[in-house]
């Protein structure tokens, strides 16, 4: 039986960083990834990664403490403050590390790492590599895993956890090439499976950003936290929702409505286009809903005044995308944009060390919720979180496994393997002829409408009913393809099941949270309610649906105040 001290599920930035940290501590660590690591969604990040380096002349007074405050205010005071402060304090060190490993950041005239302004930040502190920062970081970390000779099980899709009573002891994975199910033993499992934004149809995310990653621990009894907080990125390309980095606005790009106005004066008079994402996304959506958008669908992101030289130097990737996908050159024309579902602030319930309530089970990156971002994440803080908490979870898991037996818990692993085999066989035998992909597409259509940027009780309640109806129909769906190798139908079927259950947790959380905070905006409860809701939503899976409870937010330094930009 396959056994490693530590199994890391997911080969994106957080997974790779955790693997490097564990390898440096001499743990026997392996990555299990359904994608070749360089394909991971982390590579799509564009604008940059935050750290208070004070390299930009306009940021010479910047400090990690100020970055911490901006993060906590940006979170609409739902972040657990000591974790946000920890993240911003660690930021310079993890940035210098990845730079030492060769990450090709853009440079200032003095030869230091260049930093640009970003939303919700008091100083320009977003370190960037033109507008391909995620790609550069992903390649750099993958290169380091090659250097450390870390084993990667490429295109092995983990489909379930293995538990021995109250301890996680490994995973069950589907080897996509051979089509066989494998039990893989470990003393610690770190999930770094990324976000779930693809449950929404208008997502900036790629095809594999389904909710399956967080669904697996959820089904195994691990709580999910703050699931209702979904970030809608203000600027995604119309009509395909491909990301247009916040860096466009950081470099001076403006948002214009049908009447040619820079409408952000109404919503964030001081910060304007560089307000935090929830405020800008609501501003854009309001303009569109009130008839000041184009074709009732989009507004313009205007980069023309930046000039050809600046666009070619700072935003070449954006220009490649608009040319490739809609034949538009941003040097000459404004870009049509609308908000797109982008990031999940919520996820697997972890503490500052990446530990979940399940012994031996860790999580880091977007799939985890510490919480450092609370109700709204600042741009540039997600790439940062992958480095800080990937490193920490990897190091902590290495410490935890150091003195553990190197024997796999064979009984528990074989039970888990049988469970997944039986589950798959059951799926294939299901009666009925519902098309699971149609069900998934209906889910993706209803989520932006019922749990989108502006929410109310009626819509959310309808959404919940619709999801439950989809789950019933899903019982009459089954994978059709029975092939052994690279059977996407089987894999996507499991993912769709995860999408439905996690979407139900998102909607249940949104229904129960009768306030507006950060990215969760209720028209029927439009103000923040610190008396009743300064707390995290905890969701536990039951066969009848998510069971919700609440946990206080850790307020250690900054008392919640009015959040204006």
């Amino acid at each position: 039986m396959i056994f490693h001290d530590i199994l890391i599920v997911g080969g994106g930035l957080a997974g790779l960083r955790a693997a490097i940290a564990a390898a440096e501590k001499k743990a026997d660590v392996a990555i299990v990834s359904r994608l070749y690591p360089v394909r991971s969604h982390s590579g799509q990040a564009q604008g940059g990664v935050n750290a208070a380096l004070a390299n930009n002349p306009q940021a010479k007074d910047d400090t990690p403490e100020k970055h911490g405050f901006d993060t906590i205010k940006g979170s609409d005071f739902l972040a657990d403050q000591e974790t946000s402060i920890f993240m911003t304090e660690q930021a310079p060190e993890v940035i210098f590390e990845i730079e030492h490993w060769g990450c090709p950041f853009s440079r200032t005239p003095e030869g230091k790492i260049a930093q640009r302004p970003f939303g919700g930040a008091g100083y320009p502190r977003t370190c960037y590599g033109s507008d391909k920062t995620g790609h550069y970081m992903l390649q750099t970390l993958y290169e380091q895993t090659v250097k450390h000779n870390i084993k990667v099980y490429n295109e092995w899709a983990v489909i379930g956890l293995a538990k021995d009573v109250d301890t996680c002891c490994g995973v069950v994975a589907l080897d996509m090439h051979s089509g066989t199910l494998q039990a893989m033993g470990a003393n610690a499992v770190i999930f770094a499976t990324g976000g779930s934004a693809r449950i929404y149809g208008n997502s900036t995310n790629g095809i594999t950003s389904t909710a399956f990653g967080v669904a697996m621990p959820y089904w195994a009894g691990v709580p999910l936290k703050d699931m209702e907080f979904i970030q809608f990125h203000p600027t995604s390309l119309y009509p395909n929702n491909i990301l247009m980095t916040e860096g466009c606005r950081g470099e001076g790009g403006t948002l214009i409505n049908k009447d040619g106005e820079r409408f952000m004066t109404k919503y964030a008079p001081k910060a304007m286009e560089l307000g935090p994402r929830d405020i800008v996304a609501r501003g854009i959506t309001t303009e569109i809903l009130e008839g000041r958008g184009f074709e009732d669908s989009y507004v313009y992101l205007d980069l023309r005044h930046l000039g050809k030289a600046k666009i070619m130097e700072r935003l070449p990737g954006i220009r490649e995308i608009t040319l490739d996908f809609i034949g538009l050159d941003p040097i000459e024309k404004p870009i049509p944009i609308q908000p797109g579902t982008h990031y999940c602030m919520g996820g697997i319930d972890t503490n500052i060390d990446g530990e979940s309530p399940l012994k031996g089970f860790y999580a880091a990156g977007e799939c985890a919720c510490v919480s450092v971002h609370g109700a709204n994440r600042l741009g540039g803080n997600s790439l940062l979180e992958t480095l800080v908490f990937g490193k920490r979870a990897g190091a902590k898991a290495a410490e935890y496994t150091k003195d553990k037996s190197k024997q796999p818990r064979t009984n528990a692993l074989e039970r888990a393997l049988k469970r997944e085999e039986d589950n798959l066989n059951q799926m294939l035998k299901s009666k009925g002829n519902e098309n699971p992909h149609k069900i998934n597409n209906e889910l993706r259509k209803l989520m932006p409408e019922k749990a989108g940027i502006f929410r109310n009780e009626k819509q959310i309640t309808e959404g919940l009913a619709q999801i439950r109806a989809l789950k019933e129909r899903f019982k009459k769906a089954r994978p059709i393809a029975s092939g052994r190798s690279f059977n996407l139908d089987k894999l996507w079927f499991l993912e769709i099941k995860g999408n439905l259950d996690v979407a139900e947790a998102v909607i249940a959380g949104a229904l129960a949270r009768k306030e507006s905070r950060g990215s969760h905006f209720r028209r029927d409860f439009p103000t923040r309610d610190d008396v009743n809701f300064l707390k995290h939503t905890i969701a536990i899976h039951t066969p009848e649906g998510p069971k919700l409870s609440y946990r206080d937010v850790s307020i250690t330094k900054y008392q919640p105040e009015e959040r204006k930009y």
Binding site: R107, S485, L488
Partner: protein, 229 residues
């Protein structure tokens, strides 16, 4: 009506690959990848293909479309008047349908020591690297390892031991990085019969690279460095 002719191959069932034709209505602006997903979700769920970002940055979806390698996610169906012929990347064994075995591709990549080898202990903060020095690693750092160049290279077809345009361009990426100290070692390795001297300057890689990287140029530079220092 749009017509997709896709090369199919299931090693468990088929003696050899064959073309299968699918027809469906495609809305204006639909990409080839969206067409593949449509076929998979609505017509034939046995179809296998790779995809992830759909935004031309992850490199998953490189395939051969109507005579040219390209990323299926950014290829417009309308560009080819609605008749699309798709085959997988060449020079790599087919696992199933459009999914090929990328291990030889990645093994060659790993051989050139594709990671920064520091000259000495790093500074406390970042290495100082001027803007001019930073520009020297452009555009090699933009490579998304999609393997279009590998599939397009006729030399690769004749010899799997040839490192390949991707690996050689990656070697130059590090040799030209002012922070790297492993240049001599890497150069000595690629200046070999299986490295740069195998390239016949055919330019196919330059023609197909979706990120406009020019591996032929990188290889020419490496040849010059190897011969003249």
């Amino acid at each position: 009506m749009t017509e997709f002719k896709i090369l199919r191959y299931d090693p468990d069932k088929d003696k050899e690959p064959y073309f299968q034709t699918f027809t469906f209505d495609s809305p204006k602006g639909m990409t080839v990848l969206e067409g593949l997903i449509h076929i998979f979700e609505n017509i034939d769920p046995t179809l296998s293909f790779r995809s992830m970002c759909r935004a031309a940055v992850c490199g998953s979806c490189a395939v051969h479309i109507n005579g040219l390698y390209n990323l299926s996610c950014r290829t417009q169906i309308d560009k080819y008047g609605g008749k699309i012929i798709i085959r997988p990347l060449s020079h790599l064994p087919i696992i199933k349908d459009l999914v090929v075995d990328l291990e030889p591709f990645f093994e060659n990549y790993k051989k050139v020591m594709p990671y920064l080898i520091p000259k000495n202990d790093p500074p406390k903060k970042e290495y100082i690297q001027s803007e001019a020095e930073r520009k020297k690693v452009d555009p090699w750092v933009d490579c998304i390892l999609c393997a279009a160049c590998y599939g397009a290279c006729p030399v690769q077809a004749t010899d799997p031991k040839y490192l390949g345009p991707h690996a050689l361009a990656k070697a130059l990426r590090f040799i030209d990085d002012s922070r790297d100290g492993g240049g001599k070692e890497r150069l000595a390795f690629v200046a070999s019969d299986f490295g740069v001297f195998r390239c016949h300057t055919i330019f196919n890689c330059q023609e197909v690279c979706p990120k406009k990287i020019d591996p032929t140029k990188a290889i020419a530079k490496l040849k010059m460095k190897a011969l003249f220092g």
